[in-house]
Amino acid sequence: MDYTLLLIQVLNGLQLGVLLFLVASGLTLIFGILDFVNLAHGSIYMLGAFICASLTYALDSYLFAVILSLPVIAIIGYAFEIFLARPLYARDHLDHVLGTFGAILVIDTIAHLIWGPAGIAIPLPNYLDGQITISENIEIPTFRLLIIVVGLTAAFGLLWLVNFTKLGMLIRAGASNRTMVAALGIDIRTLFAIVFAIGATLAGIAGMLIAPITEASLGMGNNIIITAFVVIIVGGIGSVKGAFVAALLIGLIDTLGRSFLDDLFKLFMSTGAAENSAPAISSMSIYLMMALILSFKPKGLFPPRLG
């Protein structure tokens, strides 16, 4: 085993994990507290990427573009809550799924109309565009390191927010008992809208962070939304801590699977068969893990406590 490669892949897995966390944490908050299934969460992630890309060209600075995109995305999340989510809270999950799937189609098509099908590459400032040498033969792209740092900061910020602030107390209370929050005399509608805007912003940040790597492109949200759902299901719906653990777990499994599974398979099957089945099995691995975890813990790793 090549330990240098392993270390690099662990960092890559970490980077994927924190991105997943940024998307999934918003999803789990919205799901856990508002009991609202938002398939269109991935579209907000995509909008984050596109808006940031456009602003980067307009302002000629990635950094300012990110700063300016944050409130824009928060407002979009807020608007989404008012127009689509709010009328659907009282309905069952089926209606949420149908309505937000409709929203995906609408948002994706509008993005196609505004930005065209091509996708937009975001240029990075020079100080972010290079590599950082960690040791003699370990170099990783600066920007990927930045993603890890930003992601972890956001994660700990969110954990702090949820565990040690008044808003967080309400959020936790809301996750386990909605009527209690109402009984505390809190304007539940405002709380919901705030939670929705926070969730959207987190997804938007993820989009802004990934765009300089993979470009802002149509359909990028639909790729990540299913994985994000896997994350929150594995972690336990409503649990930010669960989402964090599951996101890192899935990021690592996916990345390590992609990089080492074919070598592993070559030990007991032909090279051709290994090269062919490894990608499929590694794409399958996160679903396998989810099925396994759910068959032992039907409510995920950290089910929110009730009552």
């Binding site: 996708g119 590459a121 975001i122 240029p123 920007f143 990927r144 993979t214 470009e215 492109s217 639909n222």
Partner: protein
């Protein structure tokens, strides 16, 4: 409700029959999903070709009906069926993706129509699935990477790391490079493709970096190319692991890469059967008008689509608009007697072109736009390696 829908369907039918043109050409490409960026280029080129022909092949009007394959084989097949049965086209063309072409092929050939691929050239169709009514206006998948393999041998590349998407064409590209490349392939990754393709290649690039290869060969067409090249650059591999690609850096990705000022790719090399700088009358007119109209260089997809329409027009003239004359159509197509933008070429027994392949380099033109330029002819009058396996004479 039912009545209204029936009425809509009926009107649809009326409209299409009232304005029916003499010759209807079906053109299947990708108009949605991020891959639509290719489809749009092709559509533009088809419309430009029609304009240059004044919408006519001899005395016969030509109308092109576009179909969107949604980047998925089953949707592609469905839209092919619609073109055949609802729009009743006389001939079917287009197809960017090998798997879409493979899925749709049977419908067209069973209906007794001519099928012309404007891009995809999977090995199966060149060998055991070859058919007298199928023609390629582009190349067989293996050929372009085979040309690249020769370049490696000349440049003295000894070991190679390969990355390609996991679908028919991706596998053909890998097979092609392995055919001519004399060194050693030290690693290979086939990544997920399709509507939710993998776009973050961090794990694969990390493996490639430590693999000890002298070069990295990739095939990432369409929207994936920008993502790939950017990450290649960010991973700091430029000097360590030189990049060689086919169908990845092209007229579609270059403007985007230039907008992001990704100067690392200027000077990188690709192989192709066509280039905007090729010196022939048809190509000059095509490139000039395309640039004027759409504000950028045409891609090879566009060139092949432009050729497709001209090729069809030449066949229509040869049979004087009688599209039921399959024998006449076939022999006209097979003669390749039209002004192709790639220059003169001919057809092999499997109806794939026998043509030149060039080495091209990414350069900045006089207006400061990034494009490519031919620097060498790698293969001359090259026939694909599958022709012998095709039963056609």
């Amino acid at each position: 409700m039912k009545k209204v829908l029936a009425a809509i369907i009926f009107c649809n039918f009326l409209i299409s029959s009232v304005f029916a043109a003499d010759i209807k050409v079906g053109f299947v490409t990708t108009l949605t999903t991020p891959a639509a960026v290719i489809g749009e280029d092709m559509k533009n080129a088809v419309n430009l070709a029609l304009e240059h022909l004044n919408g006519k092949a001899g005395p016969h009007n030509i109308e092109v009906v576009f179909g969107d394959d949604g980047f998925a084989p089953d949707t592609g097949k469905q839209v092919t069926d619609r073109l055949l049965k609802q729009d009743k086209v006389d001939i079917i063309s287009g197809y960017i993706w090998s798997h879409v072409l493979l899925a749709s092929r049977k419908s067209v050939l069973d209906a007794g129509k001519i099928l012309i691929s404007s891009n995809a050239g999977p090995s199966q169709i060149a060998s055991k699935l070859c058919h007298e009514n199928f023609f390629s206006a582009s190349w067989q998948n293996d050929q372009t990477p085979m040309a690249m393999g020769e370049v490696f041998n000349k440049d003295g590349i000894k070991s190679l790391y390969i990355m390609a998407p996991n679908y028919a064409a991706g596998k053909d590209m890998v097979a092609g490079i392995e055919r001519t490349f004399k060194g050693q392939v030290v690693g290979k990754d086939l990544t997920k493709w399709g509507a939710d393709a993998q776009l973050d290649f961090s794990a694969e690039l990390a493996k490639a970096k430590v693999s000890g290869a002298n070069g990295l060969f990739v095939f990432y067409p369409g929207a994936a190319s920008g993502a790939f090249t950017k990450q290649y650059h960010q991973a700091g591999l430029k000097d360590l692991l030189p990049l060689y690609s086919v169908f990845t850096i092209d007229g579609i990705s270059l403007p985007k890469l230039q907008a992001a000022n990704f100067s690392g790719i200027v000077g990188s090399k690709v192989t192709q059967q066509w280039d905007p700088s090729l010196d022939n009358q048809a190509n000059k007119r095509f490139v000039k008008d395309f640039k004027e109209r759409f504000g950028k260089y045409p891609s090879f997809y566009a060139a092949q689509s432009y050729d497709t329409i001209n090729m069809i027009a030449s066949a229509v003239i040869a049979v004087d608009g009688d599209m039921s004359d399959l024998v006449g159509l076939r022999s006209a197509l097979k003669s390749a007697d039209y002004n192709s933008v790639r220059g003169k070429y001919s057809y092999g027994n499997n109806n794939f072109p026998i043509q030149n392949f060039y080495l091209r380099e990414v350069v900045e033109d006089s207006d400061g736009n990034w494009t490519t330029e031919v620097i060498d002819t790698v293969l001359t009058n090259h026939q694909d390696p599958y022709a012998a396996e095709c039963k056609l004479k």
